[in-house]
Symmetry: C2
Subunit: 338 residues, 2 copies
């Protein structure tokens, strides 16, 4: 079987099985000065050091030229920002703060050094903004440009995980969704690539702001279940539900978006909001009383969009304003699908 037939998420599931068996092998655990507090399969893995109060988070994310970005829609400086942003968002989803980054670049020999300078300028900008630092990396020749960021974070509270949703929990997001996908669509249509795309939507695509403060506030409020929205709200909620062995219902008319999205895409805004991706807001669930506290404490608030239910694990039902079931118009983007 080929990777394209199995699909990205099928392959990830297999790898998790293989590596978990490895992690349980007799050699591995016990004698170490840390324990694996969150294993492979969440936004980040977490290690808790046994002789200190620190939980360290580890995550990594890769962008490949022509697959995850193109020079036409993402200038190098924005690419640097985004490559780090997606990793910071994973750490935020666990309630942590970013700490250190290793940067790996695969570069064709003809790449301009000036472009790499821009790339690092964007990475350093977001690191300064979020109190992270680049401490190392690797640089290799490659026929296709790619950038891999491995980021550590520090959590002082209990990391939030995807597997803690329970029937009766409310479902909320910490900010509007769909803006990044709308911005990408504008950039592709308008060929804004050569000059800065300054629309509100283009900015959301190019300079996403991971919700680190929100993640910390959620942990303080007692929220235990969260993930970041990177592959589209509906798809990511499906993953959270699968990890928690529950189902969810969301109310389409409650899904928050920015006005610019519905103005620019009066017919497609909901589709972009539900299936767009790269939003980097936090998706979380909690019982009603904790949700009330959490929303009050969040720096920019949050919006309840649905609830967790019993039902086919991983299934997400979308209801319109009159309570009728809406059918998915598109499936999430599978990285290996043809």
């Amino acid at each position: 079987m080929r990777v394209s037939e199995l699909g990205e998420f099928g392959l990830i599931e297999l790898v998790q099985q293989w590596t978990r068996a490895g992690a349980d092998s007799p050699n591995s655990p016990a004698t170490q000065p840390y324990r694996l507090s969150v294993p492979n399969g969440d936004d980040a893995a977490a290690i808790t050091f046994l002789n200190g109060p620190v939980t360290e988070l580890y995550t990594t994310d890769t962008m490949v030229d022509g697959i995850h970005f193109t020079a036409a829609t993402t200038p190098w400086r924005d690419l640097g920002w985004k490559a780090i942003a997606s990793n910071i968002s994973d750490v935020a989803a666990m309630g942590g703060e970013p700490a250190t980054a290793l940067i790996t670049l695969g570069l064709p020999p003809e790449t301009l050094v000036a472009d790499i300078r821009e790339l690092y300028a964007g990475m350093i900008e977001i690191c300064d903004e979020y109190d992270a630092r680049i401490i190392g990396g690797d640089m290799v020749r490659s026929p296709v440009a790619f950038i891999t960021v491995a980021l550590t974070g520090i959590a002082t509270g209990e990391p939030m995980v995807r597997s803690a949703a329970a029937p009766g929990h409310l479902v909320a997001v910490s900010g509007p969704v769909g803006g990044s996908a709308g911005g990408l669509r504008q950039l592709l249509a308008n060929r804004l690539g050569e000059t800065p795309g300054n629309s509100d939507l283009a900015k959301q695509h190019r300079r996403p702001l991971p919700h680190v403060s929100a993640g910390k506030a959620l942990v303080s409020a007692g929220v235990g279940c969260a993930m970041d929205v990177s592959d589209g709200l509906a798809d990511d909620l499906g993953k959270l539900c699968a990890a928690s062995r529950v189902a969810a219902t969301i109310f389409a008319d409650q899904v928050p978006t920015i006005t610019a999205l519905s103005n620019a895409f009066p017919d497609d805004w909901l589709d972009l909001a539900l299936y767009g991706g790269e939003d980097y807001v936090l998706l979380f669930t909690a019982p009603g009383d904790i949700m009330d506290v959490a929303i009050a404490e969040l720096p920019a608030g949050a919006t309840v969009i649905g609830e967790i239910t019993d039902g086919e694990p991983g299934s997400v039902t979308i209801l319109d304003a009159s309570g009728r079931v809406m059918h998915r118009s598109a499936s999430g983007w599978d990285h290996f699908a043809d």
Copy 2:
């Protein structure tokens, strides 16, 4: 200017300047519960947690299909072993033990799932052997296969660095060199790729054994300066000398190799030993008294091959058995050179 004109090491130097400036920016340090004890530019970066005795090491290394490996000389299972081995070797060079690994795979959609199973089997084998575990990663579509490993390690002593060599130090290696390069040459010549290459040299190429115990013993013995030999002994010693602002002289007839190397390559063995790469032994320097203690404590011994001198920083002079200067027959492999 293009990356190919600047070269890999020129680009790495620039990136170190850019990111160090970033790390010193007002936002970054101070409030964090750790300090950067070894910055970008060594085998691994090191973070020391302020409220605990643990120093954590971070390193990353990437292999790209057609650049760093080919299916003809490296079956998937060996590729998995090697991808982790090069990272463990970086941690060993600081005197640490490996802990956790994040694995990123870039894969063409037509990749066979069975091959990825083999790749992970090799990674899990070496992780079991060295007490490390795979805790996460990322999986992306890419026109070219690549594998990036980000590895953490734990050091209980002071990490060894490249910048601590001083004139008068002796220079030693913790094992024979050139075997991996000899094995690769055999594999390329004999097309052993389809069946296991079982010669002693091929094994050194396919299943290198990073010197973790040696690294720890060196720290215990008081050695402060080390790096691993991954790009060839002469080149790596040049880097160590550049980082320490010193020069070195090595005695060609003292350089240790396995007998199979000189048997298989009676004319080229010294060239392979000095410039071959992927040896993953440790190269270290120390004053004579500490060197005596260190060699006695090393599980498999070590060989003194030369000494650190004043002189042009980074320059390495190679003397033959009669004390005459030998001239370099090849330069180290620059990843971006044409």
